[in-house]
């Protein structure tokens, strides 16, 4: 393909390089967002709970992973598993004690309760771990660039993309093809009839909630390169996560995937090309999308 007259080969090459690195970063960032947000999309779409504390659980996982890798010297993969297990262990009693009260409540009640939980998590974690930025050091294998033949890409970016793809496919299979997925969808459609048919709806809710929190934990650790773990993490990215889910349409896996990739691309491109505008393009895109699709891109009418 001929380039526009006036561009030398070298210039064209650097601009190609910029486009390529923007694309890679955008894709990896979008996937990291997806891993975190898909759990929120599940709780909002299937369980009908607006869980603003979703980011708080990702933050807890980040703190656990950071502590495990830096202070205990545990390997990265084990730290991820530990963080997921720890976060799920914390989330189950919270589901029993607090979330169960707000299933089916008006949205304002849910918003208030979960903002309260977020504030508590921020206050308590910072009391114990101190108000500093927590890094999660990458293992050597992930911090090196990988040669793809024509370009080299940071291994961590590829790792995040692979994780996102695995989560998307696994979750789709889990909800559409397994017996538990059938029970979950039945419970969502009509809880009392499902219960009459012998489905233990309370257990279904608890398990789905735990899965959503586990995904938040996984995304929080894996995406820490893009969304750094810091004292106000839960509050700072609460809006981002909520926005992504409502743009994609709550409860829709492909919707969330598209929303994450589109918004990730808009955000990353805006930051690369016009860094002085901050999040301006991100929120402008959100308003435009919600204006045109009030139920989200692939949301179902309720």
């Amino acid at each position: 393909m001929r380039s526009v007259a006036g561009f030398g080969t070298a210039e064209r090459d650097t601009s190609m390089q910029t486009v390529f690195s923007i694309a890679i970063d955008a894709l990896a960032y979008g996937m990291a967002l997806f891993i975190i947000c898909i759990g929120l999309s599940l709780t909002m779409g299937l369980m009908r709970v607006v869980n603003l504390a979703h980011g708080a659980f990702a933050m807890i996982a980040g703190y656990i992973a950071s502590y495990a890798v830096r202070d205990l010297g545990i390997g990265y993969v084990v730290a991820i598993l530990l963080a997921i297990a720890g976060t799920v262990a914390i989330s189950i009693p919270l589901e029993r004690l607090l979330y169960r009260r707000i299933y089916g409540s008006p949205q304002l009640t849910q918003v208030l309760m979960t903002i309260g939980i977020t504030f508590c998590v921020i206050g308590i974690t910072n009391y114990f771990f101190g108000p500093t930025l927590k890094t999660i050091p990458l293992p050597a294998a992930l911090s090196q660039p990988v040669d793809l033949g024509f370009r080299s890409v940071a291994a961590h970016r590829l790792f995040v993309m692979a994780c996102g793809a695995v989560v998307a496919l696994g979750l789709w299979f889990f909800i559409e093809k397994t017996a538990f997925g059938i029970r979950l969808r039945a419970t969502v459609d009509n809880a009392s009839i499902s219960e009459a048919l012998g489905i233990r709806t309370q257990a279904v809710y608890t398990i789905s909630f735990a899965i959503a929190m586990g995904l938040a934990a996984f995304g929080g650790v894996v995406g820490a390169e893009f969304l750094p773990i810091e004292p106000y993490y839960a509050l700072r990215y609460m809006v981002t996560f909520l926005v992504v889910v409502s743009v994609g349409g709550a409860g829709s896996i492909p919707g969330a995937l598209i929303a994450c990739l589109v918004l990730g691309a808009v955000d990353t491109t805006g930051r690369y090309l016009m860094p002085e505008f901050g999040n301006f393009f991100f929120y402008a895109a959100v308003i435009a999308i919600v204006w045109v699709f009030p139920r989200g891109l692939l949301g179902k009418a309720q």
Binding site: V111, I117, I122, G123, P231, L242
Partner: protein, 335 residues
Amino acid sequence: MQLVARTNPVKTLPATGGQVLRDVVGVVAIAALGVAGYFLFPDNLALLTRLIALALLALSLDLVVGYCGIATLGHAVLFGAGAYAAGIACVNGMTEPLTLIAIGAIAGAGAGLVMGTIMLRAHGLAQLVLSIAIVQLFHEAANKASAYTGGSDGLAGLSVGPLFGVFEFDLWGRTAYLLGLVLLVVVFIGLKFIVASPFGMLCRGIKEDPIRIRAMGAFVAPNLLKMFVISGFVAGIGGALAAISTQVVGLDSISFELSANALVMLVLGGIGTLYGAIVGTIIFMGFEHIVSAINPFHWMTMVGVLLIAVVIAAPQGVSGLFDRLWSPAGRGGRS
């Protein structure tokens, strides 16, 4: 899915004598409390003035959340619009305080018109998200337009002229506080009339059941938009008051955090009663002043616990709790 709890059934009876008496007592109590604050805390008048400005914001939020049933986490846009409009006018030589308040109110109403137009397009969760996106967008815009707003440094150098040409805005903030108190009382009385008017009743009806109101032949969206504009007017007064009293307008006056705090204040006090907005602001600011001086993270934990406790134990807020205690088999049927 409904957005806000179906709280008390709409009172269909017009205001009775008892109701009027209660409101007169309430207004006198607010004024008395304000004057008492003036004499009890002469060293903290700046804080008390900020409390009044935020009470105006909470009142304005109550109009939208409590009387129209629209959940919003972006209400600071209206407050910030008033603050920046007053601040910019003041820097450009318009120093008469009452004019500045009027400018703030009009800017707030304009922002309310814009925000309402955008938000009323969506429903439910999308509406909530739109409100957040709007406040973030305005925040970025205020940050970028640093030639007018001072950007992240804030708009400083406001020198407000004396009130009525006589009362200077002194270092102790006496004039600002008394001006704020008068504004609060006037606005409160005005809002009492508005929410009791047929228009206010219509808005409550829309909150309960918009489909039925539409079937009855009334317009839904235009009425909600009207309430949004009134709400913006009130929030703009609050913003202008904050700008005049502190002589600085910061980016935090148009932030998501301020919007969330205003909602917390309103919920603490009780949604859907104008008193709740004021009670909640006093409780919130009082606790914040004491606890955040010790450790800001303790403050966050405490607000969180308070919120959870309110949702579980007192969904009607503190003022609802009082109502329930005072009239157990109550006429209002608030439960």
